[in-house]
Protein backbone atom coordinates (compact mmCIF):
# COMPACT_ATOMS: atom_id res chain seq x y z
CA UNK A 1 0.00 0.00 0.00
CA UNK A 2 1.52 3.34 -0.98
CA UNK A 3 1.68 6.10 1.59
CA UNK A 4 0.03 8.54 -0.75
CA UNK A 5 -1.37 8.17 -4.24
CA UNK A 6 -2.88 11.13 -6.08
CA UNK A 7 -4.43 11.05 -9.51
CA UNK A 8 -4.87 14.51 -11.01
CA UNK A 9 -5.87 15.85 -7.60
CA UNK A 10 -7.22 19.38 -7.60
CA UNK A 11 -8.02 21.24 -4.39
CA UNK A 12 -9.47 24.72 -4.15
CA UNK A 13 -10.55 26.92 -1.30
CA UNK A 14 -14.20 27.96 -1.27
CA UNK A 15 -14.79 31.16 -3.25
CA UNK A 16 -11.38 31.38 -4.91
CA UNK A 17 -11.10 31.15 -8.69
CA UNK A 18 -7.65 29.55 -8.84
CA UNK A 19 -7.20 26.09 -7.32
CA UNK A 20 -4.50 25.88 -4.66
CA UNK A 21 -3.38 22.47 -5.90
CA UNK A 22 -3.58 22.05 -9.65
CA UNK A 23 -3.88 18.46 -10.71
CA UNK A 24 -1.30 16.60 -8.67
CA UNK A 25 -0.38 13.09 -9.69
CA UNK A 26 1.90 11.50 -7.20
CA UNK A 27 2.73 8.17 -5.66
CA UNK A 28 4.86 7.96 -2.55
CA UNK A 29 6.00 4.76 -0.88
CA UNK A 30 6.31 4.39 2.86
CA UNK A 31 9.55 6.06 3.83
CA UNK A 32 10.82 9.51 4.62
CA UNK A 33 9.61 12.02 2.09
CA UNK A 34 11.24 15.43 1.85
CA UNK A 35 8.80 18.14 0.79
CA UNK A 36 10.41 21.24 -0.65
CA UNK A 37 8.80 24.36 -1.92
CA UNK A 38 8.84 28.11 -1.48
CA UNK A 39 6.39 29.77 0.89
CA UNK A 40 2.90 29.66 -0.58
CA UNK A 41 3.71 26.77 -2.88
CA UNK A 42 0.77 24.73 -1.61
CA UNK A 43 2.41 22.76 1.19
CA UNK A 44 -0.19 23.65 3.80
CA UNK A 45 -3.03 23.09 1.35
CA UNK A 46 -1.63 19.65 0.67
CA UNK A 47 -1.54 18.98 4.40
CA UNK A 48 -5.13 20.15 4.86
CA UNK A 49 -6.21 17.86 2.03
CA UNK A 50 -4.33 14.94 3.63
CA UNK A 51 -6.10 15.60 6.92
CA UNK A 52 -9.48 15.71 5.23
CA UNK A 53 -10.03 19.37 6.07
CA UNK A 54 -10.44 20.20 2.39
CA UNK A 55 -12.20 17.98 -0.14
CA UNK A 56 -10.73 17.55 -3.61
CA UNK A 57 -12.69 19.45 -6.25
CA UNK A 58 -11.46 17.18 -9.02
CA UNK A 59 -9.40 14.03 -9.39
CA UNK A 60 -8.87 11.47 -6.69
CA UNK A 61 -6.37 10.54 -4.06
CA UNK A 62 -5.80 8.00 -1.36
CA UNK A 63 -3.81 8.39 1.83
CA UNK A 64 -2.87 5.18 3.63
CA UNK A 65 -5.35 3.50 1.29
CA UNK A 66 -8.26 5.70 2.34
CA UNK A 67 -9.87 7.77 -0.44
CA UNK A 68 -9.85 11.52 0.15
CA UNK A 69 -13.21 13.24 0.35
CA UNK A 70 -14.98 9.99 1.21
CA UNK A 71 -16.91 9.16 4.35
CA UNK A 72 -13.82 7.69 5.99
CA UNK A 73 -11.63 10.72 5.36
CA UNK A 74 -12.30 12.34 8.74
CA UNK A 75 -11.25 9.16 10.55
CA UNK A 76 -7.97 9.34 8.68
CA UNK A 77 -6.86 12.06 11.08
CA UNK A 78 -6.51 9.52 13.88
CA UNK A 79 -3.97 7.68 11.73
CA UNK A 80 -1.89 10.75 10.94
CA UNK A 81 0.33 12.70 13.31
CA UNK A 82 1.09 16.35 12.72
CA UNK A 83 3.93 18.43 14.11
CA UNK A 84 3.22 22.07 13.27
CA UNK A 85 5.91 24.59 12.39
CA UNK A 86 4.97 27.07 15.09
CA UNK A 87 4.88 26.45 18.84
CA UNK A 88 1.48 24.81 19.19
CA UNK A 89 2.06 24.04 22.86
CA UNK A 90 -0.27 24.44 25.80
CA UNK A 91 2.11 26.60 27.79
CA UNK A 92 0.53 26.17 31.22
CA UNK A 93 0.37 22.37 31.04
CA UNK A 94 3.23 19.94 31.51
CA UNK A 95 4.60 17.95 28.60
CA UNK A 96 3.12 14.79 30.07
CA UNK A 97 -0.36 16.29 30.52
CA UNK A 98 -0.58 17.67 27.04
CA UNK A 99 0.83 14.67 25.25
CA UNK A 100 -1.74 12.52 27.06
CA UNK A 101 -4.42 15.05 26.12
CA UNK A 102 -3.52 14.90 22.42
CA UNK A 103 -3.50 11.12 22.65
CA UNK A 104 -7.02 11.15 24.03
CA UNK A 105 -8.16 13.48 21.27
CA UNK A 106 -6.90 10.90 18.78
CA UNK A 107 -9.09 8.26 20.36
CA UNK A 108 -7.02 6.66 23.11
CA UNK A 109 -8.74 5.70 26.34
CA UNK A 110 -7.65 7.96 29.24
CA UNK A 111 -5.50 5.33 30.94
CA UNK A 112 -3.92 4.18 27.67
CA UNK A 113 -3.17 7.79 26.74
CA UNK A 114 -1.29 8.36 29.99
CA UNK A 115 0.84 5.21 29.63
CA UNK A 116 1.49 6.05 26.04
CA UNK A 117 2.45 9.66 26.86
CA UNK A 118 5.19 8.42 29.19
CA UNK A 119 6.47 6.02 26.56
CA UNK A 120 6.72 8.54 23.75
CA UNK A 121 8.31 11.13 26.02
CA UNK A 122 11.06 8.63 26.79
CA UNK A 123 11.32 7.89 23.08
CA UNK A 124 11.97 11.56 22.25
CA UNK A 125 14.33 11.84 25.21
CA UNK A 126 12.41 14.02 27.64
CA UNK A 127 12.98 12.70 31.13
CA UNK A 128 12.23 14.49 34.40
CA UNK A 129 11.29 17.76 32.73
CA UNK A 130 8.05 16.21 31.54
CA UNK A 131 6.26 17.15 34.77
CA UNK A 132 7.05 20.86 34.51
CA UNK A 133 4.94 23.34 32.53
CA UNK A 134 6.36 23.66 29.01
CA UNK A 135 6.57 27.45 29.27
CA UNK A 136 10.01 26.97 30.86
CA UNK A 137 11.36 24.66 28.15
CA UNK A 138 14.23 25.33 25.76
CA UNK A 139 13.60 25.33 22.01
CA UNK A 140 15.00 21.82 21.69
CA UNK A 141 12.71 20.48 24.40
CA UNK A 142 9.71 22.21 22.88
CA UNK A 143 10.39 20.61 19.53
CA UNK A 144 10.57 17.22 21.24
CA UNK A 145 7.21 17.73 22.93
CA UNK A 146 5.76 18.61 19.53
CA UNK A 147 7.21 15.44 18.07
CA UNK A 148 5.95 13.33 21.00
CA UNK A 149 2.51 14.83 20.51
CA UNK A 150 2.55 13.74 16.85
CA UNK A 151 3.59 10.20 17.78
CA UNK A 152 1.48 9.51 20.84
CA UNK A 153 -1.31 7.63 19.05
CA UNK A 154 1.26 5.67 16.97
CA UNK A 155 0.15 7.05 13.62
CA UNK A 156 1.04 5.40 10.35
CA UNK A 157 2.08 8.71 8.82
CA UNK A 158 3.48 11.82 10.42
CA UNK A 159 3.80 15.23 8.86
CA UNK A 160 6.68 17.25 10.25
CA UNK A 161 6.69 20.94 9.38
CA UNK A 162 10.16 22.48 9.86
CA UNK A 163 11.04 20.23 12.81
CA UNK A 164 14.52 21.72 13.20
CA UNK A 165 13.38 25.33 13.30
CA UNK A 166 15.39 27.36 15.79
CA UNK A 167 17.62 24.47 16.84
CA UNK A 168 21.40 24.78 17.07
CA UNK A 169 23.67 22.26 15.32
CA UNK A 170 23.55 19.76 18.13
CA UNK A 171 19.79 20.00 18.60
CA UNK A 172 19.31 19.75 14.84
CA UNK A 173 21.38 16.59 14.63
CA UNK A 174 19.47 14.99 17.47
CA UNK A 175 16.09 15.91 15.99
CA UNK A 176 17.06 14.45 12.61
CA UNK A 177 18.32 11.29 14.33
CA UNK A 178 14.92 11.02 15.98
CA UNK A 179 13.19 11.39 12.63
CA UNK A 180 15.31 8.55 11.26
CA UNK A 181 14.48 6.42 14.30
CA UNK A 182 10.76 7.12 13.95
CA UNK A 183 10.87 5.54 10.53
CA UNK A 184 13.39 2.80 11.26
CA UNK A 185 12.01 1.59 14.59
CA UNK A 186 8.32 2.41 14.41
CA UNK A 187 7.87 1.95 10.68
CA UNK A 188 6.04 5.27 10.48
CA UNK A 189 5.88 7.05 7.15
CA UNK A 190 7.28 10.55 7.41
CA UNK A 191 6.64 13.66 5.35
CA UNK A 192 9.20 16.29 6.21
CA UNK A 193 8.66 19.84 5.01
CA UNK A 194 11.75 21.95 5.44
CA UNK A 195 13.47 25.02 4.10
CA UNK A 196 16.81 23.51 4.97
CA UNK A 197 18.09 21.38 2.14
CA UNK A 198 20.67 19.87 4.48
CA UNK A 199 17.92 18.38 6.66
CA UNK A 200 16.14 16.85 3.71
CA UNK A 201 19.39 15.54 2.25
CA UNK A 202 20.26 13.91 5.54
CA UNK A 203 17.06 11.96 6.22
CA UNK A 204 14.82 11.75 3.16
CA UNK A 205 14.71 8.83 0.75
CA UNK A 206 12.06 10.41 -1.47
CA UNK A 207 11.61 13.97 -2.58
CA UNK A 208 8.70 16.11 -3.74
CA UNK A 209 9.22 19.64 -5.01
CA UNK A 210 6.07 21.73 -5.01
CA UNK A 211 5.69 25.17 -6.54
CA UNK A 212 2.57 27.21 -7.26
CA UNK A 213 0.34 24.24 -6.53
CA UNK A 214 2.09 21.96 -8.96
CA UNK A 215 4.61 19.17 -8.58
CA UNK A 216 7.87 20.21 -10.17
CA UNK A 217 9.75 17.05 -9.37
CA UNK A 218 9.07 13.88 -7.41
CA UNK A 219 10.73 10.57 -6.93
CA UNK A 220 13.38 8.73 -5.01
CA UNK A 221 16.30 10.77 -3.77
CA UNK A 222 18.80 8.54 -5.54
CA UNK A 223 16.90 8.88 -8.82
CA UNK A 224 16.77 12.66 -8.62
CA UNK A 225 20.37 13.12 -7.55
CA UNK A 226 22.01 11.44 -10.51
CA UNK A 227 25.72 10.78 -10.62
CA UNK A 228 27.33 13.09 -13.15
CA UNK A 229 29.55 11.23 -15.59
CA UNK A 230 33.26 12.10 -15.44
CA UNK A 231 32.61 14.81 -12.90
CA UNK A 232 34.63 14.69 -9.69
CA UNK A 233 35.20 16.90 -6.70
CA UNK A 234 38.81 17.39 -5.63
CA UNK A 235 40.29 18.80 -2.47
CA UNK A 236 43.95 19.11 -1.63
CA UNK A 237 45.79 18.95 1.64
CA UNK A 238 47.21 22.43 1.10
CA UNK A 239 45.66 25.37 -0.74
CA UNK A 240 46.62 25.76 -4.40
CA UNK A 241 48.41 28.79 -5.78
CA UNK A 242 47.40 30.43 -9.04
CA UNK A 243 49.85 28.43 -11.16
CA UNK A 244 48.64 25.15 -9.73
CA UNK A 245 45.04 26.18 -10.31
CA UNK A 246 45.89 26.90 -13.93
CA UNK A 247 47.59 23.53 -14.21
CA UNK A 248 44.45 21.88 -12.91
CA UNK A 249 42.70 22.88 -16.11
CA UNK A 250 44.97 20.44 -18.00
CA UNK A 251 43.07 17.60 -16.36
CA UNK A 252 39.76 18.81 -17.71
CA UNK A 253 37.46 21.76 -17.29
CA UNK A 254 37.31 23.30 -13.80
CA UNK A 255 33.63 24.14 -13.44
CA UNK A 256 33.62 25.64 -10.00
CA UNK A 257 36.05 26.22 -7.17
CA UNK A 258 34.63 26.95 -3.76
CA UNK A 259 36.17 26.87 -0.33
CA UNK A 260 39.07 24.75 -1.53
CA UNK A 261 36.80 22.26 -3.29
CA UNK A 262 37.22 21.97 -7.06
CA UNK A 263 34.38 20.73 -9.23
CA UNK A 264 36.04 19.20 -12.24
CA UNK A 265 35.01 17.60 -15.52
CA UNK A 266 37.69 15.02 -16.34
CA UNK A 267 38.76 14.10 -19.84
CA UNK A 268 38.91 10.44 -18.91
CA UNK A 269 36.90 8.36 -16.49
CA UNK A 270 39.77 6.55 -14.72
CA UNK A 271 40.87 8.44 -11.57
CA UNK A 272 44.39 6.96 -11.72
CA UNK A 273 45.39 9.71 -14.10
CA UNK A 274 44.25 12.30 -11.57
CA UNK A 275 46.39 10.77 -8.84
CA UNK A 276 49.28 10.66 -11.26
CA UNK A 277 48.79 14.33 -12.12
CA UNK A 278 48.76 15.34 -8.45
CA UNK A 279 51.90 13.27 -7.89
CA UNK A 280 53.62 15.13 -10.74
CA UNK A 281 52.56 18.51 -9.42
CA UNK A 282 53.78 17.73 -5.92
CA UNK A 283 50.26 18.11 -4.53
CA UNK A 284 48.49 15.75 -2.15
CA UNK A 285 44.85 14.91 -2.73
CA UNK A 286 42.69 14.46 0.32
CA UNK A 287 39.43 14.11 -1.56
CA UNK A 288 38.49 12.65 -4.91
CA UNK A 289 34.83 11.78 -5.10
CA UNK A 290 32.42 11.29 -7.98
CA UNK A 291 30.14 14.25 -8.23
CA UNK A 292 26.39 13.80 -7.70
CA UNK A 293 23.74 16.39 -8.19
CA UNK A 294 23.48 18.55 -5.14
CA UNK A 295 20.01 19.05 -3.74
CA UNK A 296 20.14 22.78 -4.42
CA UNK A 297 20.84 22.03 -8.07
CA UNK A 298 17.94 19.59 -8.21
CA UNK A 299 15.71 22.23 -6.64
CA UNK A 300 16.75 25.08 -8.91
CA UNK A 301 16.43 22.88 -11.96
CA UNK A 302 12.93 21.86 -10.90
CA UNK A 303 11.79 25.41 -10.14
CA UNK A 304 13.32 26.97 -13.26
CA UNK A 305 13.37 24.36 -16.00
CA UNK A 306 15.71 25.34 -18.82
CA UNK A 307 14.29 24.98 -22.32
CA UNK A 308 15.76 21.97 -24.12
CA UNK A 309 19.11 22.65 -25.71
CA UNK A 310 19.79 25.79 -23.67
Amino acid sequence: MPLIAFENLEVRYPATPVPALKGLSLRLERGIVGLLGPNGSGKSTLLKALLGLLTPSRGSGTVLGVPLGGAEAARLRARIGYMPEYDALIEDASAYEQVAFWGELSGLAPEAARDRAHEVLYFVGLDEARYRPVSGYSTGMRQRVKLAQALVHSPELIFLDEPTNGLDPDGRRRMLDLVLRVHAELGTGVILASHLLGDVERVADQLVILDQGQIKAAGSMAGLRKALARRVELRFLDPLDAAQEAALAELGAVLEARNGLYDLELTEADPTATFRWAEAQGLTLIQLTPRHDRLDEVLLRALHPQPAGA
Binding site: L51, I80, A109, L151
Partner: protein, 286 residues
Protein backbone atom coordinates in the same frame (compact mmCIF):
# COMPACT_ATOMS: atom_id res chain seq x y z
CA UNK B 1 14.69 -15.15 28.75
CA UNK B 2 13.41 -12.67 26.18
CA UNK B 3 15.02 -9.33 25.48
CA UNK B 4 12.55 -6.51 25.09
CA UNK B 5 13.42 -3.90 22.52
CA UNK B 6 13.82 -0.40 24.00
CA UNK B 7 11.34 1.05 21.59
CA UNK B 8 7.64 1.76 21.59
CA UNK B 9 5.22 -1.14 22.07
CA UNK B 10 2.64 -1.93 19.39
CA UNK B 11 -0.05 0.53 18.45
CA UNK B 12 -2.74 1.03 21.10
CA UNK B 13 -6.44 0.76 20.32
CA UNK B 14 -7.77 4.04 19.01
CA UNK B 15 -11.45 3.16 19.34
CA UNK B 16 -11.73 3.19 23.14
CA UNK B 17 -11.43 6.94 23.61
CA UNK B 18 -14.02 9.29 24.98
CA UNK B 19 -15.87 11.75 22.72
CA UNK B 20 -13.59 14.69 21.84
CA UNK B 21 -15.90 17.25 23.43
CA UNK B 22 -15.69 15.41 26.74
CA UNK B 23 -11.90 15.19 26.54
CA UNK B 24 -11.68 18.92 25.89
CA UNK B 25 -14.01 19.71 28.79
CA UNK B 26 -12.03 17.50 31.15
CA UNK B 27 -8.83 19.24 30.15
CA UNK B 28 -10.36 22.66 30.83
CA UNK B 29 -11.63 21.42 34.16
CA UNK B 30 -8.19 20.09 35.11
CA UNK B 31 -6.74 23.49 34.28
CA UNK B 32 -9.36 25.28 36.40
CA UNK B 33 -8.53 22.94 39.26
CA UNK B 34 -4.81 23.61 38.89
CA UNK B 35 -5.21 27.37 38.74
CA UNK B 36 -6.76 27.40 42.22
CA UNK B 37 -8.85 30.47 41.47
CA UNK B 38 -11.62 28.42 43.08
CA UNK B 39 -10.48 29.31 46.59
CA UNK B 40 -11.85 32.82 46.77
CA UNK B 41 -15.00 31.95 44.93
CA UNK B 42 -15.39 28.77 46.92
CA UNK B 43 -15.43 30.72 50.18
CA UNK B 44 -17.70 33.41 48.82
CA UNK B 45 -20.27 31.03 47.43
CA UNK B 46 -20.09 28.75 50.45
CA UNK B 47 -20.79 31.69 52.70
CA UNK B 48 -23.79 32.68 50.61
CA UNK B 49 -25.04 29.12 50.60
CA UNK B 50 -24.73 28.84 54.39
CA UNK B 51 -26.69 32.05 54.75
CA UNK B 52 -29.50 30.74 52.56
CA UNK B 53 -29.65 27.45 54.42
CA UNK B 54 -29.43 29.19 57.77
CA UNK B 55 -32.44 31.29 56.88
CA UNK B 56 -34.48 28.17 56.34
CA UNK B 57 -33.41 26.85 59.71
CA UNK B 58 -34.13 30.13 61.50
CA UNK B 59 -37.51 30.19 59.89
CA UNK B 60 -38.12 26.65 61.10
CA UNK B 61 -37.13 27.60 64.65
CA UNK B 62 -39.34 30.65 64.61
CA UNK B 63 -42.32 28.70 63.38
CA UNK B 64 -42.07 25.84 65.85
CA UNK B 65 -40.48 27.12 69.04
CA UNK B 66 -42.88 28.93 71.40
CA UNK B 67 -40.18 31.12 72.92
CA UNK B 68 -39.80 32.85 69.61
CA UNK B 69 -43.54 33.51 69.23
CA UNK B 70 -43.29 37.28 69.76
CA UNK B 71 -40.71 37.50 67.06
CA UNK B 72 -42.87 35.83 64.45
CA UNK B 73 -44.59 38.95 63.30
CA UNK B 74 -41.29 40.57 62.70
CA UNK B 75 -39.82 37.44 61.13
CA UNK B 76 -42.68 37.03 58.68
CA UNK B 77 -41.95 40.51 57.50
CA UNK B 78 -38.41 39.69 56.49
CA UNK B 79 -38.96 36.07 55.49
CA UNK B 80 -41.31 36.29 52.58
CA UNK B 81 -42.37 32.84 51.58
CA UNK B 82 -43.96 33.65 48.30
CA UNK B 83 -42.69 33.19 44.79
CA UNK B 84 -40.09 35.96 45.18
CA UNK B 85 -38.44 34.02 47.99
CA UNK B 86 -38.17 30.92 45.81
CA UNK B 87 -36.65 32.87 42.93
CA UNK B 88 -34.27 34.62 45.27
CA UNK B 89 -32.71 31.27 46.19
CA UNK B 90 -30.96 31.40 42.83
CA UNK B 91 -29.57 34.85 43.28
CA UNK B 92 -26.26 34.18 44.99
CA UNK B 93 -24.79 37.62 44.42
CA UNK B 94 -25.45 37.72 40.72
CA UNK B 95 -22.43 39.93 40.00
CA UNK B 96 -20.10 37.54 41.78
CA UNK B 97 -21.26 34.71 39.53
CA UNK B 98 -20.85 36.83 36.40
CA UNK B 99 -17.37 37.75 37.54
CA UNK B 100 -16.45 34.11 37.99
CA UNK B 101 -17.82 33.25 34.56
CA UNK B 102 -15.79 36.10 33.05
CA UNK B 103 -12.62 35.08 34.87
CA UNK B 104 -12.82 31.44 33.82
CA UNK B 105 -14.77 31.68 30.59
CA UNK B 106 -12.82 34.63 29.22
CA UNK B 107 -9.76 32.46 28.75
CA UNK B 108 -11.51 29.39 27.40
CA UNK B 109 -11.15 30.11 23.69
CA UNK B 110 -8.64 32.95 23.90
CA UNK B 111 -6.04 30.71 25.52
CA UNK B 112 -6.21 28.28 22.60
CA UNK B 113 -5.89 31.24 20.23
CA UNK B 114 -2.84 32.55 22.07
CA UNK B 115 -1.10 29.17 22.19
CA UNK B 116 -2.24 28.42 18.64
CA UNK B 117 -3.42 24.93 19.51
CA UNK B 118 -6.77 25.06 17.72
CA UNK B 119 -5.36 24.17 14.28
CA UNK B 120 -3.65 21.22 15.89
CA UNK B 121 -6.96 20.15 17.43
CA UNK B 122 -8.59 20.20 14.02
CA UNK B 123 -5.73 18.07 12.73
CA UNK B 124 -6.99 15.47 15.21
CA UNK B 125 -10.40 13.83 14.91
CA UNK B 126 -12.04 16.91 16.43
CA UNK B 127 -14.77 18.69 14.48
CA UNK B 128 -15.42 22.41 15.01
CA UNK B 129 -18.77 21.54 16.52
CA UNK B 130 -17.06 19.29 19.09
CA UNK B 131 -14.86 22.20 20.03
CA UNK B 132 -17.75 24.61 20.33
CA UNK B 133 -19.80 22.10 22.25
CA UNK B 134 -16.96 21.54 24.72
CA UNK B 135 -16.35 25.22 25.33
CA UNK B 136 -20.05 26.11 25.57
CA UNK B 137 -20.65 23.09 27.73
CA UNK B 138 -17.87 23.94 30.12
CA UNK B 139 -18.71 27.64 30.33
CA UNK B 140 -22.37 26.79 31.04
CA UNK B 141 -21.74 23.85 33.35
CA UNK B 142 -19.67 26.08 35.62
CA UNK B 143 -22.46 28.49 36.69
CA UNK B 144 -24.94 25.61 36.64
CA UNK B 145 -22.75 23.61 38.98
CA UNK B 146 -22.41 26.52 41.35
CA UNK B 147 -26.13 27.25 41.36
CA UNK B 148 -27.08 23.63 41.88
CA UNK B 149 -26.57 23.50 45.68
CA UNK B 150 -28.39 26.82 45.99
CA UNK B 151 -31.44 25.28 44.39
CA UNK B 152 -31.28 21.91 46.07
CA UNK B 153 -29.88 22.34 49.59
CA UNK B 154 -32.43 24.83 50.94
CA UNK B 155 -35.16 22.77 49.33
CA UNK B 156 -33.90 19.54 50.89
CA UNK B 157 -33.49 21.24 54.25
CA UNK B 158 -36.96 22.69 54.15
CA UNK B 159 -38.38 19.31 53.17
CA UNK B 160 -36.61 17.55 56.01
CA UNK B 161 -37.45 20.10 58.67
CA UNK B 162 -40.99 21.07 57.78
CA UNK B 163 -42.19 18.63 55.18
CA UNK B 164 -44.61 19.95 52.59
CA UNK B 165 -45.30 23.13 54.55
CA UNK B 166 -41.71 24.43 54.65
CA UNK B 167 -40.70 27.80 53.31
CA UNK B 168 -39.41 26.28 50.07
CA UNK B 169 -42.05 24.82 47.83
CA UNK B 170 -41.93 21.12 47.28
CA UNK B 171 -42.06 21.71 43.54
CA UNK B 172 -39.40 24.43 43.56
CA UNK B 173 -36.61 22.42 41.83
CA UNK B 174 -38.95 21.69 38.91
CA UNK B 175 -39.11 25.42 38.30
CA UNK B 176 -35.64 26.41 39.39
CA UNK B 177 -33.60 23.83 37.47
CA UNK B 178 -34.86 24.87 34.00
CA UNK B 179 -34.35 28.51 34.96
CA UNK B 180 -30.79 27.73 36.00
CA UNK B 181 -30.17 25.90 32.76
CA UNK B 182 -31.31 28.88 30.70
CA UNK B 183 -29.35 31.42 32.75
CA UNK B 184 -26.23 29.24 32.66
CA UNK B 185 -26.42 28.78 28.93
CA UNK B 186 -26.79 32.54 28.56
CA UNK B 187 -23.72 33.11 30.70
CA UNK B 188 -21.76 30.38 28.93
CA UNK B 189 -22.50 31.52 25.41
CA UNK B 190 -21.67 35.14 26.26
CA UNK B 191 -18.37 34.09 27.80
CA UNK B 192 -17.39 31.83 24.90
CA UNK B 193 -18.41 34.39 22.27
CA UNK B 194 -16.47 37.14 24.01
CA UNK B 195 -13.48 34.89 24.59
CA UNK B 196 -13.37 33.94 20.91
CA UNK B 197 -12.86 37.60 20.01
CA UNK B 198 -9.91 38.05 22.35
CA UNK B 199 -6.30 37.30 21.55
CA UNK B 200 -5.20 36.55 25.12
CA UNK B 201 -6.97 35.13 28.18
CA UNK B 202 -6.72 38.44 30.01
CA UNK B 203 -8.24 40.29 27.11
CA UNK B 204 -10.94 37.61 27.13
CA UNK B 205 -11.86 38.49 30.70
CA UNK B 206 -12.11 42.11 29.63
CA UNK B 207 -14.25 41.19 26.66
CA UNK B 208 -16.74 39.24 28.78
CA UNK B 209 -17.04 41.95 31.41
CA UNK B 210 -17.23 44.61 28.72
CA UNK B 211 -19.96 42.82 26.83
CA UNK B 212 -22.03 42.05 29.93
CA UNK B 213 -21.73 45.47 31.48
CA UNK B 214 -21.85 47.24 28.11
CA UNK B 215 -25.03 45.53 26.99
CA UNK B 216 -26.52 46.15 30.44
CA UNK B 217 -25.63 49.81 30.48
CA UNK B 218 -26.87 50.33 26.96
CA UNK B 219 -30.18 48.69 27.77
CA UNK B 220 -30.57 50.72 30.96
CA UNK B 221 -29.81 53.94 29.11
CA UNK B 222 -32.36 53.27 26.44
CA UNK B 223 -34.82 52.24 29.12
CA UNK B 224 -34.17 55.46 30.98
CA UNK B 225 -34.39 57.67 27.92
CA UNK B 226 -37.42 56.18 26.24
CA UNK B 227 -39.19 54.52 29.14
CA UNK B 228 -39.28 51.33 27.06
CA UNK B 229 -39.17 48.58 29.67
CA UNK B 230 -38.94 45.74 27.18
CA UNK B 231 -35.44 46.80 26.22
CA UNK B 232 -34.20 45.30 29.49
CA UNK B 233 -34.47 42.01 27.63
CA UNK B 234 -31.07 42.87 26.19
CA UNK B 235 -29.49 43.22 29.63
CA UNK B 236 -27.73 39.88 30.31
CA UNK B 237 -27.49 40.46 34.06
CA UNK B 238 -31.20 41.19 34.36
CA UNK B 239 -32.05 38.26 32.08
CA UNK B 240 -30.11 35.82 34.23
CA UNK B 241 -31.96 37.06 37.28
CA UNK B 242 -35.32 37.21 35.53
CA UNK B 243 -35.56 33.58 34.46
CA UNK B 244 -36.01 32.10 37.96
CA UNK B 245 -38.60 34.81 38.63
CA UNK B 246 -40.48 34.05 35.44
CA UNK B 247 -40.55 30.31 35.94
CA UNK B 248 -41.49 30.57 39.59
CA UNK B 249 -44.21 33.07 38.78
CA UNK B 250 -43.21 36.25 40.58
CA UNK B 251 -45.74 39.07 40.32
CA UNK B 252 -43.41 41.65 38.90
CA UNK B 253 -40.42 39.97 37.26
CA UNK B 254 -37.44 42.08 36.23
CA UNK B 255 -38.14 41.31 32.60
CA UNK B 256 -41.45 40.16 31.17
CA UNK B 257 -41.89 36.86 29.31
CA UNK B 258 -41.72 38.08 25.74
CA UNK B 259 -38.68 40.36 26.03
CA UNK B 260 -36.92 37.73 28.14
CA UNK B 261 -37.50 35.03 25.54
CA UNK B 262 -36.45 37.27 22.68
CA UNK B 263 -33.46 38.73 24.48
CA UNK B 264 -32.15 35.35 25.65
CA UNK B 265 -32.55 33.81 22.22
CA UNK B 266 -30.80 36.81 20.72
CA UNK B 267 -27.81 36.64 23.08
CA UNK B 268 -27.35 32.88 22.95
CA UNK B 269 -27.79 32.84 19.18
CA UNK B 270 -25.51 35.79 18.50
CA UNK B 271 -22.64 34.73 20.73
CA UNK B 272 -22.75 31.11 19.69
CA UNK B 273 -22.66 32.27 16.08
CA UNK B 274 -19.72 34.58 16.80
CA UNK B 275 -17.82 31.80 18.56
CA UNK B 276 -18.54 29.36 15.74
CA UNK B 277 -17.28 31.81 13.14
CA UNK B 278 -14.16 32.70 15.08
CA UNK B 279 -13.17 29.07 15.65
CA UNK B 280 -13.62 27.75 12.12
CA UNK B 281 -10.70 25.66 10.82
CA UNK B 282 -10.07 28.07 7.95
CA UNK B 283 -9.71 30.89 10.44
CA UNK B 284 -6.71 29.16 11.90
CA UNK B 285 -4.07 28.75 9.23
CA UNK B 286 -2.35 25.42 9.56
Amino acid sequence: MPIYAPTLPPAPDLSLGQPPALVLMRFDFARLWRQKIGRFFGFAFLFLLLWKVARIYIDFLLQTNQTFKPMQQWANAILTQGAAFQADLLNPASYLLWFLVALVGGGLVARDTLYRVRPLMYAHPVAPKDYLLAKLGFASALPFGILLPFALLPWAMSLVLAGAHGPVWVTAPLRLLPAMAISSLLMGSLAVGASSMAATPRAGIGWVLGLVLGAGTLASMIHGLTGLKAIDGLNPVMLAEAWPQLLVGVDKPLVAWVPALLGTAFHIGLWTWVAARRTRPSEAVI
